[in-house]
């Protein structure tokens, strides 16, 4: 965890643990700056919260080292094998149900930053390093999706920080892909991770990572452009930019990987509300639009469509034949607020998502 000191230096807490039930190191962090009883107390509380074995277990040793953040020595930096194990352990906590997700996220967030720092210091660029960065990107993408379902005053800033680190991790990952590349070679998962850039920039004003898509595409190799993953996101981009909600939703359902789906979720919501707006705007006033049909077009459950219409400020009613319909040409339409709820995408192939 990162603690603020009086001098606002970033501290990392180093605790070396050995546990009889697991084979190697579970957590490694570095405490730098001033130690204090208060810090020690906080550390212990956090550890108790996360470790199954209590801290006073006779076989657990706890040691702290004090280092200046600016004076990290080569010996303080964890080697790749340790980083791999650490990350593997951290990601295993993602599905923990013992604590609220925002607590789990916060814990893993700090430690993945620390792992990236160690990688950066060592200036490594192997396939193993690529794998680590890819896993960290996955963490940030999944966090982005799951934080949407959390509530609390700090969620907004957590989300913002998470997106910031997602952008930084992706940038580093792309640089590593490009460094020492052999001609015509693509790394195993590169096409998928490159496609995430497109999905983060579907909207021209999003600018998550700075470079407009038109410029970004220029740098891609032909093999990447023609990959299945890039063809998928380019199709999605075309549908999104032309407002073709039907094609967008259908393509996402049939072709998106789990990561691509997670990143696309805000746009799925956006396209659905856009569809409702269009239908409300263009349909014949004397022919209210059946919600069943709308649910089919938007690949949603009918009751979710009802909820969506309400979020868009539109009223629905029950027709004389008992079907629920959306009266059109209503003037109260409004775009749903940020962070409104996710609705399932009916028809998405679950197996591909796992």
């Amino acid at each position: 965890m990162y603690l603020a000191t009086e001098a606002m230096t970033i501290l990392r807490v180093e605790i070396l643990l050995t546990c009889p039930s697991s084979s190697e190191l579970a957590l490694l962090c570095v405490l730098s700056g001033k130690e204090s009883q208060e810090n020690a107390c906080v550390i212990s509380q956090c550890l108790r919260g996360f470790m199954e074995t209590p801290l006073n277990h006779p076989q657990i040793s706890l040691s702290r080292r004090t280092l200046s953040a600016a004076d990290v020595q080569a010996s303080d930096v964890r080697p790749l094998s340790v980083l791999e194990e650490t990350l593997s352990y951290l990601l295993s906590l993602l599905d923990s149900r013992e604590h609220p997700f925002e607590v789990v996220h916060d814990f893993i967030f700090d430690r993945t930053r620390s792992i990236r720092q160690d990688l950066s210091i060592q200036n490594l660029a192997s396939e193993g390093v690529i794998h680590l960065y890819e896993e960290i990107v996955k963490f940030h993408v999944i966090s982005r999706q799951r934080l949407q379902g959390c509530s609390g005053t700090s969620i907004s800033s957590m989300h913002h920080l998470n997106m910031e680190q997602l952008a930084k991790t992706l940038t580093t990952l792309y640089n590593i892909y490009d460094a020492n590349r052999k001609p015509d070679y693509i790394y195993e998962n590169e096409a998928e991770f490159r496609s995430l850039y497109v999905l983060l920039h579907l909207n021209t004003s999003s600018g998550v990572m700075g470079e407009p898509l038109s410029l970004w595409f220029r740098k891609l190799t032909s093999n990447l452009i023609k990959s299945k993953e890039m063809c998928f996101v380019r199709k999605l981009l075309r549908s999104y930019r032309n407002g073709n909600y039907r094609s967008f939703l259908r393509t996402t359902a049939s072709e998106a990987t789990y990561l691509q789906y997670c990143i696309s979720e805000p746009h799925i919501r956006e396209m659905r509300s856009f569809a409702v707006e269009c239908i409300n705007n263009v349909c014949y006033k004397l022919q209210p639009y059946p919600l069943l049909r709308l649910s089919h077009n938007l690949m949603m459950k009918e009751m979710d469509v009802e909820s969506l219409c309400h979020e868009c400020g539109l009223e629905i009613r029950t027709d004389s034949d008992g079907s629920i319909v959306l009266p059109t040409k209503q003037t109260n339409f409004c775009r749903p607020k940020e962070g409104f709820r996710n609705y399932d995408l009916i028809g998405i192939e679950v197996e591909r998502l796992l």
Binding site: L213, S214, R218, T221, L237, N242, N244, C278, C283, N297
Partner: protein, 433 residues
């Protein structure tokens, strides 16, 4: 390299030194330009280079005379650069030229008037060109290319020297354009932002004061940036300015401007004539224009696809040219692909209009009713398989974005068109604005 005697070498070097010093003394900028333009590969510079490689100790000649030694540092670096250039050692040539350029800029600062601006332009141009050549050499030797990036830093320094109140400020736009070319080559176009801000907001600059040639180049590059950012009205303004003010005899430059202006104009509903495309060899746009005229969605998609697969040549994006030998599409590489993809809605609009016109001929009373089934059939003729749900979706968008005026009667699966102007023109505005 031709044989040169020591005596002849001595004569050539002394002659150059005299010309250089006289050019400075008499403020003869055009002479100075000729003396510094390595990339012109002029016979006199090449023969000087041969002489330098024979004589080997030109510095002693420079030191011998007060007239020459006044510019000793400048000349020593210049000669070293020329020697290396002549023997094809381009990294060394760049390094020495960079030192020469730094020393020259220091002298330039001390000259009160702007007499040497043209010569400074030559220095800036040569810095960029030599840096590109040096980077190619580095890459071919398996090393990391870094000289063009360094050239960018030097050019920024020169920009700073010119960004003042005096007469030298009119040179700032030329250096800006050299910076644009550098950043575009490196793929770091975000760095253009700071110079653009200086040119467009600093009170010392009056855009109309700058030379026409530089204004055209500036508008061309800033117009391209607007295309990348998909800001089409601004891109239209800038690229149209560049086109209107470009020398009509510079056909290559006009073609470069049109390459970006055409997709921008298309997205605003303005279609170029075939004669224009033929005159400037812009065949890659012919099918796109045809697709828009006919409402042929298949042709549009094929045209975009064709230029992904058919036009293959080495990548010109600088970094990847140096590191890779890859093949990329015409439209993606030039950055207009996404602009062209957005034309799809206009093609749909045209198709609907054609269906309407055909219906009007056969059954005028019902021409304003477009059945979704008929539209789906027309798309099938174009080998585009679309179910009625998606056809309904497309029509909904077209009406919403005001490309079609009317309403959707979903129960009868019909679009009822407005009797008046059912297919409004864009009139210079992007779709949906």
């Amino acid at each position: 390299m031709a044989y040169v005697s020591m005596g002849e070498a001595h004569r050539r070097i002394t002659e150059y030194l005299n010309r250089f010093c006289d050019a400075v003394s008499y403020q003869d900028s055009s002479m100075l330009c000729r003396l510094l333009s390595f990339s012109s590969n002029s016979p006199s510079l090449l023969s000087l280079a041969d002489a330098l490689n024979v004589f080997q100790d030109a510095s002693s000649l420079i030191r011998q005379s007060d007239k020459f030694s006044e510019y000793g540092e400048i000349l020593a670096h210049l000669f070293r650069s020329l020697q290396s250039y002549r023997v094809g050692n381009l990294v060394e040539a760049y390094l020495a030229f960079e030192k020469f350029a730094n020393a020259f800029v220091q002298e330039f600062r001390n000259w009160e008037s702007a007499w040497a601006l043209e010569a400074l332009y030559v220095v800036c141009y040569e810095v960029r060109i030599l840096a590109e050549k040096a980077d190619k050499e580095l890459t071919s030797n398996g090393k990391s290319p870094e000289k063009l990036k360094a050239a960018g830093s030097l050019l920024m320094k020169v920009f700073g020297v010119l960004a003042g109140k005096g007469p030298k400020r009119v040179g700032a736009l030329y250096v800006t354009c050299q910076l644009f070319k550098t950043y575009f080559k490196l793929g770091t176009v975000n760095l253009c932002r700071s110079v653009i801000r200086s040119i467009e907001t600093a009170r010392i600059f009056d855009f109309e004061e700058f030379p026409r040639r530089d204004k055209v180049t500036y508008m061309y590059y800033t117009g391209r940036l607007e295309v990348f950012n998909e800001n089409f009205p601004a891109a239209d303004t800038k690229l149209s300015y560049a086109l209107q003010h470009c020398n009509p005899e510079r056909e290559r430059n006009i073609r470069m401007i049109l390459k970006y202006l055409i997709p921008v104009k298309l997205s605003l509903g303005v279609i170029p004539k075939d004669e224009l495309l033929q005159k400037y060899n812009l065949h890659e746009y012919m099918n796109v224009v045809q697709a828009l005229r006919k409402g042929d969605l298949r042709l549009l998609r094929h045209a975009l696809q064709e230029h992904e697969d058919r036009y293959v040549f080495p990548l010109t994006s600088y970094c990847t040219y140096l590191h890779l030998n890859c093949i990329v599409a015409v439209f993606l590489r030039s950055g207009v692909y996404l602009v062209l993809e957005k034309l799809e809605l206009q093609v749909y609009q045209r198709l609907m209009k054609k269906i309407y016109i055909i219906q009007k001929l056969s059954d005028p009373a019902r021409a304003h009713q477009l059945k979704l089934e008929v539209i789906a059939k027309a798309l099938r003729w174009l080998e585009i398989d679309m179910d009625l749900d998606e056809v309904e979706c497309i029509m909904t968008i077209l009406i919403y974005k005001n490309l079609v005026k009317g309403y959707l009667a979903h129960k009868s699966k019909v679009v009822v068109l407005s009797k008046q102007d059912p297919f409004p023109k864009l009139n210079g505005k992007p779709v949906g604005s």
